[in-house]
Symmetry: C2
Subunit: 145 residues, 2 copies
């Protein structure tokens, strides 16, 4: 039978992530490995799923620290079940929904606001729809906060 675990090279090949990055992730506590008698890393197949998750989260602009925090919620001792991943997925979903909404607002604002030449942030209703926001200080709070 084939090996039940993956070498770092295999995990790298399957995930598309450089070995150096995988070591880095491990150092930062995002993934885990066991060692052979010769001190080489061996990865459970489940780590592949973690790595994928990391890359996807990064793609949408989440920092490694936040990703690590999210992954911490997966059980340490046992292999995460489908339910564990589903729970994590649900959390990310709301994050994604927020980010998507932000982007859509951004897009619509670009059309309406840059287009109309009011991007000075001074009196644009799209940027500062309420006086409450203006009172919080300068900057595009509504969109960038």
């Amino acid at each position: 039978m084939k090996t039940a675990t993956l070498t770092i090279g295999e995990l790298s090949a399957r995930s598309g992530v450089a070995p150096s990055a995988l070591r880095f992730y491990e150092e930062r506590g995002l993934i885990h490995s066991t060692r052979t008698s010769g001190n080489q890393r061996r990865y459970e197949r489940g780590e592949l799923r973690r790595v994928s998750f990391i890359r996807i989260a990064q793609q949408v602009g989440v920092s490694l620290e936040r990703i690590r925090d999210a992954l911490k919620e997966l059980p340490e001792g046992r292999t995460p079940t489908k339910a564990d991943w589903t729970r994590l997925s649900a959390r990310w979903r709301s994050d994604l929904d927020e980010r998507i909404a932000l982007m859509q607002r951004l897009r619509d604002t670009l059309d309406g606001c840059i287009g109309c030449g009011c991007l000075s942030l001074q009196s644009c209703r799209l940027y500062n729809p309420g006086d409450d926001l203006a009172a919080q200080g300068p900057g595009p709070r509504k969109l960038l906060g």
Copy 2:
């Protein structure tokens, strides 16, 4: 009458961007200033619009280099017209549309794919809908490429 131009402190206050960052943007060619007889920077009001544009573009993950390239298309000599900004806006809009679509795909995939436990990228139809993609090598190409 009030000053027609802005000092770096005023531009900073109005844009919410630190003076050091504004100098940095200028060094990189993203914004421009004139100088007083005493060598202090003075900004046209239109620069505020540029700064806002920069921050918005950054927010959606565009590098300063790409932002600079986009801003290069604005006329150097004259103050950009509404039409100039509209043209730029249109370009960013398609970028944004792409990114939004990517995120939505990501979100839906997380629901369907992590949820089902197939995030190993090995045989998931959501990740690799066609064999052509699989043939391009490892990694989550469809989503991350």
